[in-house]
Each structure stands twice: as structure tokens, then as C-alpha cells.
Symmetry: C2
Subunit: 338 residues, 2 copies
């Protein structure tokens, strides 16, 4: 069955089920010219949007609909997490080619709705239209935050400790598996693929970090560690020193890189789409923040470096050698490292 | 010069100029993981989003960048207008193919910014990425409105008078000219093309209508009069009677239809993308609303029919004959009338 059989409005009725997860404050959901919601008068409104294009961000034949739905929403929730905010409402725009089945789209919405339920996010609208060739997905997410807790990219100060919430480089390895059609026939390879197609939005962690009052800047690792930390450095007018042996690399990535004779630290630095949070923490509070974080989330907050005064980016290798590093991450219009 | 020459971040720096039109309440604009704005605690937040895809919604070779930028934003502002709201902030996502020049994109942003200035709308973020083939544009617009003034599709009552704010069918004729590559070598043809590529968002008119307290439902004519009035009928659980000789048709459209031996009323009924406001007004107040509207905007509020109890849609012809009419407008997944 295809979209032609049920039409645009039939499709909208079909996908609207299960979209309203939290009714409080929703005056108008899907079905009018715009959605209408009440806000918390004490909080700022956050807005982020991300566009995913077939053959640029994903290969439709290499992903399930559910994975794609999860990821499309997750990357937006990650942006709200990186501001320290609560995610509230999502708006889904789809341009759908004729060869995209209703089954795939149902799975897409199911994957998205499962994540929306997990994080108490409403799906309140969007737009649905045709595409001549590629499936295109744009999601906009509205969030909220108390202004005093807002995490920007611009507040890092010399001496601050750089931390991140999870492994880096796994997603890049997962992408490598997909692009090279390598079968994920071991648990380790499946984990790497999973890191790429089902990224975790660190929303609860972002809220926790915002509430500590000790986080001076934050970003999510979407373009790659080297590129994302550079955004913090530039916006904060500071420099960065990272320690190669402190960058969290999973055993899966280490084993994978050994097989293909690559350096996992380079993959962690240059790989994108891990969507961990990358923050700077005031040095006097970093011990207690890390302790409380680990207690709450049963997972470490990895300390990977520090902010320095001089505006340069350097990587300290295990033997103490210091190397300058460039932003190695993903720029959508320029060739990447891979 | 292409995007490869300046990169994603160079492009973002380039387009960011002139995006912040109204600084009040903007805590973070372009350049962080999300935008952060303060809201008016007395007002609801409105959110709408529209996706425009090359070869589905526009032909890149048949439009200027400035026209495309204007229209992409205008269709979103129109949705806010149809709720009766103030438009506040816009978020622009672009998927850009390699053969799209920086000149075209600069013109696109210039066209959008000119409209944003006219309606005091900030451009506060978005996403920029590559596309393999088609230029894809998604815009999300945030607006606000006092809850008591909210115009929904669902409030029409039997006896209410149906009104609209401008000519219908012109945009459809303009599309015909473009698709058939008919040269717009007369002022009349240029006006028809203009109606299609530079639609006017009726934001001020929407605010006026919302403030009257007499408008019971509203929508904008994006899919076509017959289709859009049907949304009101369905959401309000009522029927509709339109009068063929009261539907506002421009002299340009009449002349154009005469040439091609078509009925202009059918074009007005089935053509989409006029983006006039289509409202129902309580009968006891319609005279004063129309008078005040005309005085304020120096343009009539056209009365085109009335809401009836029986859930059917009928068109009264000039000779008194009554015909049932279907929703003839645009459904993105089904063949249209044209």
C-alpha cells in the first residue's frame, strides 16, 4: 500500500494516533493551521531544527523505518539536551517519494513515538508532502528552560575541565559498517551499528548538568569531538587541551580499529554523530559533579581535557608529546576525513 | 562560487547578517544548539512548519531566489495569520544541491529577510546541509496569541457568513503560466505570475479579525477554496453554501480564463496557494466587521457564502441552480484537477 491509496489527509489521520503524549498546556495539536501551546511563564522557549536527507544522512535501504524515526527525533532532542532544557513538542515534516511504503512510514512514526513517550515529548504538527526522489525529514523541537540554567557554548573559562557523557567514535564506526556493507555478525559490530542508527539523547543528563550550576558551556557531539570542542573554544574565546588517553573509547571501537589498522582516538576525535554531551565544568566543582553524576546515572562523566587561555587546540598523547589538532569533523559542504 | 568554496560555517556566517530584526526577548539567536527566547506569559505559543521541495512545489529555473525566499517564509506566516497570531521567529532549514549557486542562495535569503523585516519576524536558526539533487526548504515559524483571540477551524456555526480577504484562483493561473512556459508579456499575466510566486501573508488582517471577537473560524487558502472550506466544515461539523457570483475573481483571471476557455469560478474553487484568509463571521456582526476591515485595509472583505446546518457543500450558481461540490483542491499524494 502506498500513500496514493490513502491520500495526504488519510495519512495525517493515520499518523496522528499516539502523538499527544502530555495534554497539559496543549490548546491545539495536529489539525489546524498551527499548533497552540501554553508556556511556563518562568521559562525560556528553546527551538531547534534538523534536516535529514536520504543519500546524505542515511541510506533508506540500510536502515529500518523505526531506526530512522528514532534517530530523526533523537538528534533534535540532543540539541535541547545540549542547552540543558526540557524537550516539549516536536513538529515533523516529511517529503515522501512514491517508492516509500506505508509500512516503512508507519515504522518511522512508531520509532519516533517510542522515543517521544520515553522523553514525554508531544508530536503536535508538521507538514507532509511529496518528493520526486529522496525521502527528506525535517523535525523542529520546542523545549523550555529556566534562564539561569541555560547552557551555552560561550561560557568556558581557562582552567575549566572538559567532560563528556559517553563513548566517542562508535557512531563513525557504525557508519563505516553501513557504507561498506559489512555484516554486523558479532555483538560488538552490532553495538557499533546501533550507536549510529539509534543514538541516545542525553536529555536527563543535560538537565542534571544544567541544575548543578557548575557547567560553564555545553554542546552535543554531532559534528565530531574535534569540531564540536572547537565551537566551544571559538564561542568562548579560549583554547583547548585534550588528553588522548582520557578520551572514552569503547572496547568495541578498539577491537574494530585494530582489525582495520586505524587509531581509535582519531576516530573518536573526527567521528561525528555520537550525540554525547560535551561540557566544561568549573574546576572547583568538577569532583562533586562527576561523583553525583555517576551516582545518578550509573555511568561516568569522562574528563577528557581542560580549557586553556591561549587560543589553540592541542592534543596530549600518552607519551606526553603535544600535537596541535584541527577541527577534523564533518562540514556538510567540504570533504571530511573519511 | 559554490558552497564548497566557503563551507557550512562560512555559509552560516554569511547568511546570519540581518537575521535579528527585533532583539527584545531573544536570549540566544543563530549560533548555539538551539535558539532561546522569552515569551509573553499572557500569550499562547503558536508553531507551524512548511516543507517546500524542488520539482514538487517549485521549479528552480522558473523562479528567482528572492521570490523563492519570499514565498517559503510567506506560506508559514500565512499559517500564523490564519490563527490570528503575531509571527515572531523563523527557523530555516535548507538541503542544498551542488549546482545551487551562492548567488541564488543570497537572493533567497534577501527575499526572505525583506519579508521578515516587513512583519518584524526574527530569523533565529535552522539547519543547513547538502542534498543529492533537489533543493529542499523547511521553515518553522513561532508565533504568539492571546488565547481568547485564537482563531481555530472548528468554531463555525450555522448562519455564520463566510468571508475571504482577496482574489482566488490567480495563483493557480500563475502556476499554469509557469508550467506551460507562457511568457508573461502583459501586466495582467505578470500579476497572475506574481500572485503565485510572491503571495501576501495576511498577518495584519488576521490580527484585526482575531481582535474583532466576531470571527468563529479561520483557515488560509493554501489547498484551494473548496478544499479549505471543507476543513472548516469538517472541523466545525457543519455544511457550507457558497455563491458562485460572490467569489472574488480578479479581472486578470477572468481575461486569462476567457482566453483559454475555462471557468474562472472553477479555478477560484480548485486553485490553491492564494493564501487569503477564509473565515466565518457571526451574522449579527458581519456588517460592522466588513465596514471596519475595509476602512482599515482599503480593501473589501468578500462575503462568499454561509454556514448551513446540513453537512453538505453546495454552490449556488448565478441562475439560482444549486450544485453539490467536492473538495477540488490539492492533495499532495493524489492527482489534482489540473
Amino acid at each position: 500500500m502506498g500513500l496514493k491509496d490513502i491520500g495526504e489527509f488519510g495519512f495525517i489521520r493515520r499518523i496522528s494516533r499516539g502523538c499527544l503524549i502530555r495534554e497539559t498546556g496543549v490548546v491545539r495539536a495536529i489539525g489546524d493551521d498551527a499548533a497552540a501551546v501554553t508556556g511556563d511563564p518562568d521559562q525560556l522557549t528553546l527551538v531547534t531544527t534538523d534536516l535529514l536527507v536520504e543519500r546524505v544522512h542515511f541510506l533508506r535501504e540500510s536502515t529500518t523505518g523505526a531506526e530512522l524515526g528514532h534517530k530523526s527525533l533523537a538528534v533534535n532532542l540532543s540539541d535541547i539536551a545540549a542547552m540543558g532544557g526540557f524537550a516539549r513538542d516536536a513538529f515533523i515534516s516529511l517529503a515522501i517519494p512514491e517508492n516509500c511504503s506505508i509500512d516503512f512510514l508507519d515504522a518511522f512514526y512508531d520509532g519516533m513515538k517510542a522515543l517521544a513517550v520515553e522523553f514525554d515529548v508531544n508530536i503536535l504538527g508538521g507538514d507532509t508532502t511529496r518528493s520526486k526522489q529522496d525521502l527528506v525529514i525535517n523535525i523542529a523541537v520546542i523545549g523550555s528552560i529556566f534562564e539561569a540554567q541555560l547552557l551555552l557554548r560561550s561560557g568556558a573559562k581557562p582552567g575549566d575541565i572538559i567532560v563528556t557523557t559517553g563513548f566517542l567514535g562508535d557512531s563513525r564506526a557504525g557508519l563505516h559498517l553501513i557504507l561498506n556493507q559489512i555484516e554486523t555478525d558479532t555483538p560488538a559490530l552490532r553495538e557499533l551499528r546501533r550507536a549510529h542508527v539509534l543514538p541516545k539523547p542525553y536529555l536527563r543528563e543535560g538537565r542534571f548538568l544544567a541544575e548543578t550550576g557548575s557547567v560553564t558551556s555545553a554542546i552535543d557531539t554531532s559534528d565530531g569531538l574535534s569540531s564540536d570542542i572547537r565551537h566551544i573554544a571559538e564561542e568562548s574565546a579560549v583554547g583547548v587541551r585534550l588528553y588522548a588517553d582520557q578520551i572514552p573509547v569503547s572496547d568495541h571501537l578498539t577491537a574494530f580499529c585494530k582489525d582495520i589498522q586505524e587509531d581509535p582516538v582519531l576516530w573518536a576525535l573526527s567521528g561525528g554523530e555520537d550525540y554525547t554531551l560535551l561540557c566544561t565544568v568549573a574546576p572547583e566543582n568538577v569532583a562533586s559533579v562527576c561523583r553525583d553524576y555517576e551516582e545518578k546515572f550509573a555511568s561516568p562523566l569522562y574528563r577528557i581535557g581542560e580549557i586553556i587561555t591561549e587560543r589553540k587546540m592541542e592534543l596530549v598523547l600518552a607519551d606526553g608529546e603535544i600535537r596541535a589538532f584541527e577541527a577534523l569533523g564533518w562540514d556538510h559542504f567540504r570533504p571530511g576525513i573519511a
